[in-house]
């Protein structure tokens, strides 16, 4: 009798522990994936892919990375741009040094390089917290920027100082370089983001995620429970930087095609930070929402006035953009630290009860 019962419990826990326990959510996700994989490539223009969707995917990857570190493990980093640069430059170095190596393997290896660099710059987190840690990671950002600028070996002594993605193929499709179509690059980016978002979700719903959140919420108690604070924090830095590294490689190989260190400057670090705050700290979904918002608002501001038959000066657009971001960040930091992701959740709860107010 008892045995049967416990067997039943087990299956129900498994269902309960699933990423999306509610069927409606699963349908919704299926629909989103269907649109992303089938509809968008079929209907989107080159401009749409290149200016909106690919950067969205790149930033979603970086935002997931930073969210793992900041939202889950509670370690503030302003070095996102620097870690992305590591990914981009290492991918470039490896693929030019070993042209035959599969580009996906190169991506993963440079992610690992970024993870290693992340661990090194994460070491201060063992001693310092919050504001001071932010300053230490800022140093990482500036050091890495400086290094990729100064050490010519990193850009193969190219006098212009830029690095350019050479053409590489995956299963016979040209996925990088000037010949790669926007659709192909979009698809590769989409697959990478899908896979790594799933991995991130797996990590945060298991022991690793709990160890991060425990350190974030109360590091002393976490240690008394048996989490090793050093390992836990460094793992967070490593995995977070891995994601940022992949995002950096994507920036060069799947989005821009050719970059200088400027593409990974401090403002990128801040941009990704804003995505995480606006989207929702401690939420994978929030990373997507934040990335979507921050990549979409400038595009909307550029295009909407023209569609409405109005003229808007470019500097006014820029100012509006900054004002919107600034206002929202203050709003979310004060009112709703869980960002859009939480607002989405509240909306869903309301919908579930609809049309009854309570």
């Amino acid at each position: 009798m008892l045995y049967r019962e416990s067997g039943q419990f087990k299956t129900s826990y498994e269902a309960d522990q699933a990423i999306l326990p509610i069927p409606q959510d699963r349908w919704f996700l299926m629909a989103v994936l269907l649109i992303a994989y089938l509809v968008i490539p079929a209907v989107s223009s080159e401009y749409m892919l290149q200016a909106v969707l690919i950067p969205f995917l790149v930033f979603a990857m970086a935002a997931i990375g930073l969210n793992l570190l900041l939202g889950y493990a509670g370690q503030l980093s302003l070095g996102t741009g620097g870690f992305m640069a590591v990914g981009a430059y290492m991918t470039y170095k490896m693929t030019t040094a070993w042209p035959d190596m599969d580009i996906i393997v190169v991506f993963l290896l440079s992610g690992l390089c970024a993870a290693g660099v992340g661990i090194i710059f994460g070491i201060p987190s063992l001693r310092i917290k919050g504001f001071y840690l932010a300053v230490a990671t800022l140093a990482a950002q500036f050091f890495l920027s400086w290094m990729f600028n100064k050490v010519e070996w990193f850009y193969n002594y190219n006098p212009s100082g830029t690095i350019t993605a050479p053409p590489r193929t995956v299963f016979g499709h040209v996925v990088t370089g000037p010949e790669a179509t926007a659709e192909t690059r979009y698809m590769v980016a989409l697959i990478l983001v899908t896979v790594f978002a799933l991995i991130a979700k797996n990590l945060v719903r298991g022991r690793v995620g709990r160890s991060w959140m425990a350190i974030r919420d109360m590091d002393i108690a976490a240690e008394i429970i048996g989490f090793k604070p050093y390992q836990t924090k460094l793992l967070a830095f490593a995995i977070s930087s891995f994601y940022c590294g992949i995002a950096g490689a994507m920036t060069l190989f799947l989005w821009l095609g050719s970059v200088e260190t400027e593409a990974f400057a401090i403002n990128i670090s801040f941009q990704v930070l804003f995505m995480v705050i606006i989207g929702g700290l401690g939420s994978i979904l929030g990373s997507f929402l934040g990335a979507a918002f921050i990549t979409l608002v400038p595009v909307l501001l550029t295009n909407a006035p023209q569609l409405a038959g109005l003229q808007m000066a470019t500097d006014l657009q820029k100012h509006l953009e900054v004002m919107i971001f600034g206002g929202l960040i203050i709003f979310f930091l004060i009112v709703e630290p869980h960002g859009f992701a939480r607002l989405w959740q509240i909306t869903k709860e309301k919908l579930r009860r609809w049309p009854f107010p309570y």
Binding site: Y13, R207, R210, M213, M218, G226
Partner: protein, 268 residues
Amino acid sequence: MANGNGGNRRRIGGVILNVEDVSLSFGGVQALEQVTFSVREGEIRAIIGPNGAGKSSMLNCINGFYHPQGGTITYKGNKRKQMRPHEAAAQGIARTFQNIALFKGMTTLDNIMTGRNLKMRRNFLWQALYIGPARREEMEHRAFVEQIIDFLEIQAIRKQPVGKLPYGLQKRVELGRALAAEPDLLLLDEPMAGMNTEEKEDMCRFVLDVNDEFGTTIVLIEHDMGVVMDISDRVVVLDYGKLLADGTPDDVRGNKQVIDAYLGAVHD
């Protein structure tokens, strides 16, 4: 409230923890001064004493959070002087705190699941995939944690973030987190402080049941003398960092010094 939880019902074994001449000071403050006592396997050992007597400091020494300047602590036959809290956890010591130390942003379920972490073996690569062994492991521990949730009667708050729960329930969740580690030695720092009578009775029941069913050795700090007399096997009395008395509840209750220094002071 359960009464007379004497040694006849349960088996009390040999000494599991021996504290010898332990001294601890913070700058000029002598928190503990050559304190000596022992805890036997399977017993409920109370530590009492007025505010600032050094009770919490004593627990902090036992689980490696403070490092005493003098004396030795012998646990399971191994003498030790310095150890990190996570090492103490690995040796089977779990605890709760006077000021609740839960992970506020996490749900009740996740908080209690953290207590299982030392029993989980799959590394992060397995977890990234969340297949086979990693998933099975998660389910096994989930099942164990559900038993604790049932035992503590907190099914209804399973999915709620603990930061928003009322105080009494938070204390209960914290006990659950400590129990999830299946500790050999459970340290409870004022588990019933700030509770009403009903909540206290529940908590007493849980403490006694844990001790009874799993044979867990318990060291608890408590101010409520009624509770202490009811549930503990032996009592240590501290005052200004010094050991004032050590014995059964009846011994301690009758001790002249204790009455003067502590009980008297409370009832003044």
